[in-house]
Amino acid sequence: MLDLIVIGGGPAGLAAACSAHEHGLKNILIIERGAELGGILNQCIHNGFGLHIFKEELTGPEYAARFIEKLKGTGISVMTNTMVLKITPEKQVHIVNPSQGYRILHAKALLLAMGCRERTRGALCIPGERPAGILTAGAAQRYVNIEGFLPGKRVVILGSGDIGLIMARRMTLEGAKVLACVEIMPYSSGLNRNIVQCLRDFDIPLYLSHTVTDIKGRRRLERVIISKVDKELKAIPGTEIEFECDTLLLSVGLIPENELSAEAGIEIDWKTNGLIVYDNMETSVPGIFAAGNVVHVHDLADFVTEESMRAGACAAEYVQNGERAGETVKTVKGFGIGSLVPHKIRKEASKGKIEFYFRVNESFKNRSVIIESNNFTLARFKRKVMVPGEMERVTLDRACIPESGEITVKIENEDGGNEND
């Protein structure tokens, strides 16, 4: 039996496998459905990876290569071109590939690192006709960077997610005309540096509080119509702007790829489709761990790496020392918090500091993040700016955690105070 099977060979799976090995596991297998390791990084040929971890700017493939290099000599096995079709709570993994056929593998622990997929037009219910030329920004990125083809020449981008912003620049450099980037929220969901470097530097207008309300074209896309939206995000009649274009790129959010997990009965946060995890990145099924975008969507591969190293170490600990019991403290999203990981903490069950990753649900300036329990403030962290597009991280000493009950993470009120203080 294997010690650990890692499902997905993106940055999360790679870092987790390396870390599990460093923490003493010998029999580790990474399963990746693609032809190469690296995950989504393989199509991210732009700079901007590794600033935190390596203190230098790498491209996606370069960043992945650092970890692939690290695998050498570890004895970690890798299966590429292999799709995982099913996992079970008993830690069986059903796989299929052309050379070995359909097989069922078994391990002492699993680590889920399947990443995420992009939201599509269907999920948004954008009305209109259904011509060719409407695709997700990630699919466009794959066509341009890996296959070497341009999906269109006159482009509108819906959503200001990072992939869309990156593609605005990429398409422009490839000679396409990017007419607009359209965002339904009053703020961008992408990193500020991408707004500057990918839109402003190329004079691409960003329409905030706007969305696509109609699509024209029977065969190939001919026009999109955008409208301004009100506070309820409903289109305001009379505010239509029409763009003649042949391509609409969608960068409207990522959805953790948890169909395998759901089928195995692992607990999922149905609002984000992310996995529900403990502070040691263990899911609701003992011995099944998770890291990276399958838990919550990250903006920075560096954060993925950090989180995954922790997950790998904890998986190793599980294999070596067995199941972790102990009282559970729930974490609660307080004012201003849109998403929060971990969902649960077992104070005695793990070691080390507790890392909270969260996103705010609106923009904040000069506010503090407050962690509290039973109306008692455990910690406070000053932040100059917090925006929904950027994941935040705070660290808390394990000793501060109460024995049971709840912990709330929230943003302080406008007056700088904490209503419960």
């Binding site: 050379s99 219910c125 011509p131 999906p151 190939r220």
Partner: protein, 482 residues
């Protein structure tokens, strides 16, 4: 000179081709698009109706009941996804209940078996997600769900295997009678001569009719919009759930699909453009609000696709299946709105009878192909999967992650009797891209497979119909894998 040319390869044209392929004649089908099932036959509710809806005595009533009876057997023979799950017409007040009782009576008159009136308690027992205010329903055990485009494809493929010629990308532009009898049908740069014509052109049947004779009827396209929901929503309905029928159709339904999703729709909205299969905010919202009244728990955030289809509604209120008064040997099959999918094989039988009475001599062939089987990797047992992959490793390469469709199945489709000409053509034959990511993952892969197998350039590959190019140019550097 063909004995018979069928215009249009929707389910009706395909069923007619299949039926005719049993006889020793020469037949052809002309289809304007690049694939079969490109019109209404791919965009409908996919229901084989039991037959209680149509007014007794109409062609619709007769052909629905007979067609539904034939459909089950055809689907088994031709390997078409078909599930008899039964339907409920839900009543929410006394007025609805009166309609439901009327439908029950109608159904009995039409010869529908296994109809039952249920009270509120009985409905709740078998359909726990139905709105609490439901007060009764008509249950029809025979109603079934089906994959409408695979049905059409299976009929057309079998016809082709039996010698029927299929000409895709061949819109009929004009028709002229031949001096020696029969007709010449003109398309762009090509023509075909034939003794008999079956006009199965769907919403365009009136236009085709008018090419050969004085106008007798006109067709109005009545659009119906849909939501297709993620598989996780499929449990919202165990049966096909209808409201009581309205002016234009059977109202908004909620039903599981044979692919394991949930379908919600259609609305009813006459449009003036016969190609207008777009969706609108208002149309979709109407569907949503109506469906929520029947099944309040549907989570519309789990929508994976919207689409719409056009009912071919004629001004006669019934199916038109008859020889054209002004053109001998020219048979109209027009106004085939719902339940046309259910009725198709019976419509085909009737068309063949009309051909005979118009003078076409028909003799059964001694041997015909009357079965079809395709590999569906996902449904196989682990041992069967292994065996298949050992035989051909392409079945071990999963291309569509959502629906678990393998490269082997895609290659099978590409070498089938009617090879697909686009990514959506592959989708209709294998199910790839039908799932929650809507081809975001497999689209680029399928594009490369098509390009490789057909020795085409990637920029030539189509998403769906002619002109739906996916890519426009090569990049400056040609990409890392180019």
């Amino acid at each position: 000179m063909f004995d018979v040319v069928i215009i249009g390869c929707g389910v009706v044209g395909a069923a007619a081709a299949y039926e005719l392929s049993k006889y020793g004649i020469s037949a052809a089908v002309l289809e304007k698009e690049n694939d079969v099932a490109s019109g209404t036959s791919k965009a409908n509710s996919g229901i084989i109706h039991a037959g209680y809806d149509p007014e007794p005595g109409t062609l619709m009533a007769k052909l629905n009941v007979r067609g539904a009876y034939l459909a089950g057997e055809l689907c088994r023979k031709l390997d078409v996804p078909y599930k008899q799950i039964g339907s409920l017409v839900l009543a929410f007040d006394e007025r609805d209940m009166a309609s439901v009782r009327q439908l029950y009576e109608r159904g009995r008159t039409n010869g529908v078996k296994d109809l039952e009136l249920l009270d509120a308690e009985q409905v709740r027992l078998i359909e726990p997600n139905a709105c609490k205010s439901v007060c009764g329903a008509l249950f029809a055990a025979d109603a079934a769900i089906i994959c409408p485009w695979e049905y059409t494809l299976a009929l057309a493929e079998t016809a082709v295997k039996n010698g029927v010629k299929l000409y895709l990308n061949s819109p009929v532009r004009s028709i002229s009678p031949l001096p020696s009898g029969g007709y010449r049908l003109f398309s762009d740069g090509a023509y075909w001569d034939t003794r008999f014509i079956l006009n199965a052109a769907g919403v365009h049947a009136d236009d085709i009719h008018n090419m050969a004779a004085e106008p007798e009827f006109s067709i109005t396209p009545v659009r119906g919009e849909y939501f297709l929901m993620d598989k996780c929503e499929s449990k919202r309905a165990a049966h096909i759930l209808f409201g009581v029928p309205g002016e234009f159709g059977k109202g908004v339904l909620v039903a599981p699909t044979v692919h394991g999703n949930l379908i919600v729709g259609p609305g009813t909205e006459p449009v003036d453009d016969k190609e207008n299969t777009g969706t609108t905010y208002g149309g979709l919202d109407y569907v949503k609000q109506t469906a929520l009244k029947a099944v309040p728990s549907i989570d519309f955030h789990r929508c994976i696709r919207n689409f719409s289809g056009l009912r071919a509604v004629s001004d006669t209120d019934d199916f038109i299946v008859r020889e054209n008064a002004g053109a001998k040997g020219f048979i109209d099959i027009a106004g085939i709105k719902s339940p046309g999918l259910s009725a198709a094989p019976a419509i085909a039988e009737m068309a063949v009878e009309l051909l005979q009475s118009s003078g076409l001599k028909l003799e059964r062939k001694e041997r015909i192909v009357d079965s079809r089987k395709r590999i569906r990797f996902k449904g196989l047992s682990p041992d069967e999967k292994n065996e298949l992959i050992m035989r051909n490793p392409a079945y071990g390469n999963v291309i569509c992650r959502c629906e678990t469709v393998t490269e082997g199945e895609i290659l099978d489709a590409l070498s089938g009797p009617i090879p697909p000409q686009s990514i959506d053509g592959v989708k209709r034959r294998t199910g790839s891209g039908l799932g929650r990511c809507q081809g975001g993952f497999c689209g680029p892969k399928i594009l490369s497979i098509i390009a490789r197998e057909k020795k085409q350039e990637p920029v030539e590959i189509l998403q769906d119909k002619a002109g739906t190019f996916v890519l426009t140019d090569e990049t400056k550097t040609g990409g890392s894998h180019a």
